[in-house]
Symmetry: C2
């Protein structure tokens, strides 16, 4: 059996409360006592029972990650593991553990979240997806439970960490404008998605600031399960002969675009967005910096948790800068 705090106290000749204070490294304990206690902890290979600690201290040093439905394409996306790495790196530095929750359907996922919150298993939640009127987010709100959304959030009263997608669209477009191009196409995924809209807005902003007239014939939105295929087909409707470059809003779209260009033997510079180095011969891409997104979301959640202890409610809205990578 594992040694308990009592046995350490006994061996060190102090009370259990003193051992706790040494573990917490309180400054009120004399160095002499600290040394004695630490020696005893070492001798007995003492490690605190975290369940006991959580029970009394009301915090767990665990955060929960809420993933989307099992069916979500999210899992095929390198964004997920990269963000996970970012979160876990910073979490490890703060001695936080990570619990994850996913499920086949919304009901199962809601139950998992309830279990975490009701069961007092986690101190806060990060949602790795976002959708309007999500009952899981609503549940956290109703219970005054600390959380944030990593990504585009719908409600304006919710904390979030996200990319600056407008700026991203602008930067991508400016990359071509600076080369002197004027006829720049824009191909995106689902027009309903905030991310598509934001990047599109950035595209228009860049054109506007450069006094290049906006030409809607150069713009297409695609959607569907096989985004590569629909994007490929969108290409056929564009006046390619008049175009000098293409901005695409994500790698799946870029895949369709590049396939079309390769087949038709057309050379046209293409820029896209991704969270890892894309396996595509792009002219350049906007690295959305998923690692930093993960790191910052953990730090922000920590902030929210400690705010709550002080009965403060602050809504954080942080935008993570991206980088442009050229080859």
């Amino acid at each position: 059996m594992r040694a308990t705090i009592k046995e350490v106290a006994k061996l060190a000749g102090v009370s259990p409360s003193t051992v706790t204070r040494v573990v917490q490294d309180k400054s009120t304990i004399s160095d002499e006592t600290k040394q004695k206690v630490r020696a005893a902890m070492k001798a007995l290979d003492y490690h605190p029972n975290l369940n006991a600690r959580s029970l009394v201290s009301q915090f767990t040093q665990v955060i929960g990650l809420v993933l989307p439905d099992d069916s979500d394409v999210f899992y095929q996306n390198p964004f997920f593991p990269t963000v996970l790495r970012g979160i876990s790196q910073v979490a490890a530095d703060s001695d936080y553990a990570i619990q994850i929750s996913t499920g086949k359907d919304e009901e199962g996922r809601l139950n998992a979240v309830k279990q975490m919150i009701y069961g007092k298993r986690v101190d806060g939640l990060i949602f790795l997806y976002s959708k309007p009127n999500d009952p899981l987010v609503q549940f956290a709100i109703d219970n005054d439970f600390p959380f944030l959304i990593l990504g585009k959030a719908v409600s304006p009263f919710v904390s979030l960490v996200d990319n600056d997608n407008i700026q991203g669209g602008q930067d991508a477009t400016n990359y071509f404008i600076k080369k002197g191009y004027k006829n720049i196409g824009f191909l995106a995924g689902n027009k309903e998605l905030v991310v598509s809209q934001d990047r599109f807005q950035g595209y228009k902003k860049a054109l506007h600031e450069a006094n290049i007239p906006y030409n809607e014939k150069l713009v297409k939105f695609s959607f569907g399960f096989l985004l590569e295929d629909t994007s490929y087909k969108s290409m056929e409707k564009l006046p390619i002969e008049n175009m000098e470059a293409i901005v695409t809003s994500d790698s799946l779209v870029a895949e369709g675009v590049l396939q079309y260009l390769t087949e038709k033997q057309i050379h046209l510079p293409v820029i896209s967005f991704d969270s890892i180095k894309p396996r595509l011969p792009l002219t350049a891409y906007i690295d959305i910096n998923a690692l930093e997104l993960g790191k910052e979301s953990f730090r922000t959640l920590q902030q929210i948790i400690s705010d709550q202890k002080k009965n403060q409610i602050i809504c954080y809205r942080k935008l993570i800068p991206h980088s442009i990578i050229t080859h």
Copy 2:
């Protein structure tokens, strides 16, 4: 504040221990009492504090997932999310939560695992990677902590759930043999990896059983960070003009192979292995069934955990069948 078991007991007019028994649905409690207690739980929106429960009952209903180093290519691989989905589906059915642990280096990961085991945060561990003399696995062994390895394990005294890679290699090769081909190439990744070796062994076995002489000129192993590129180069050394089909051991290798074939305008059937439908025009592929791998590994870990309660030690070695998918 959340209602406690005492308040439920009071409202229902029973003792706290009776409430516990109702929660556990013990058959010794009368239906009448059960109904009273359940009504009280509902009225007070009672949910047990899981930390208190774990403290006394010595189990947590949480399992830990040990991931490889942050730097591991593993994260770029669809295997990881798929296995995670499989594990979490079955875990949810058994009311288990999942804690994950990763880190930049081995030391950080070892600390995370120590925290889980010493802190009594999890009931068992699944390792999602495998390597010789892993100190984390050794730590679990030294502490008699229930665990299993998902994948090829090195030591023979360790429980594992894995693919039958020999059978897989054999099935892939037989797919072509049945079509009447005799000159079948085999291209794999790193020869040091058990998975490459096993699939290679299956390949040879299939040839042998069909009385087709083994020709080492048709076999190449590649390795390195950019497996597509090395595989591409391997193709140049093969006597392609004499070949009728190629078995590749993974999708990255297949990518290099297919690129070569496309560029040289050579038509040659290619089969590969993957955990999701590959984004490549393969003739067929062996679906390694990562979802089932995840599910079975959770079930097996549960078995190991309950074995330990009975002081049994059983070493499980389960091989999950794959499927062959043709287009």
